[in-house]
Symmetry: C2
Subunit: 113 residues, 2 copies
Amino acid sequence: MNSSLLKIHIPRGEESAMGPGKADLLDAIEQAGSISGAARAMGMSYKRAWDLVDTMNRCFRQPLVETATGGSHGGGAEVTDFGRDILMRYRAIQHTASASVEDEVQALIALLA
Amino acid sequence: MNSSLLKIHIPRGEESAMGPGKADLLDAIEQAGSISGAARAMGMSYKRAWDLVDTMNRCFRQPLVETATGGSHGGGAEVTDFGRDILMRYRAIQHTASASVEDEVQALIALLA
C-alpha cells in the first residue's frame, strides 16, 4: 500500500508540527543543502518552504533545520541530528500505520467501480 | 489518539473515493435524511456536498447514497446498505491505523516545545 494514502499530522495547538509535506521538505533540504534548493526541487516558493521550516523549528524543543547566514536566500541549510531523529520517527509511524491496514484497504479498493 | 490526525484516502485514479470529509458527510446524511440538511449541518454548500456524493457514487460499484426526486433541492437522501458497509469499513481502517501508532505518536508529541 502506498503510504501516501495516509496523511499523518502531529498537531501542536492549531498548527501541524509535522506532516507529509514537512517530512518531504526535510528530505529535500538534506538532498539540496539549502532551503531555496529544496523549494525548487519541490516546486514550492522559497517563502512557503521557509514558513514550513519556521513552523517545525518553533513547534519542537530543538530546531530541525539550521541555516547559515549570508547569500541572497540566506546561504545553506542542514537538517540537525534532532531533525533526522524526528524524520525517522515520523517515517516509521507512516510505515506502521500503513502496514496495519493494508489488507482492509485492499478489500475496500476491491469494491471500487 | 485522536483519529483525525490520520487522514486516510481511498484513491481511484486521480480522485479520492473515500476520505475523512466524505465519511463525515455520509454520517451527516444519515442524521439529516437529505443532502441539503447534511450540507447545512457541516457548514458546506449544497453544491459541494452534492459533488462529494456524486464522486462516491461514481467511484464505487454501487451507490452509497440514493436520492429521492422532488422538492427544491431534490427531496430526501439516504445512505444505502452498501454505503453503510463502506463507511463501517472506512471507520475500522481509521481506528486500526490510529491504534497501531498511538505510542509512537505520543513519543513524538513528547518532543514538542
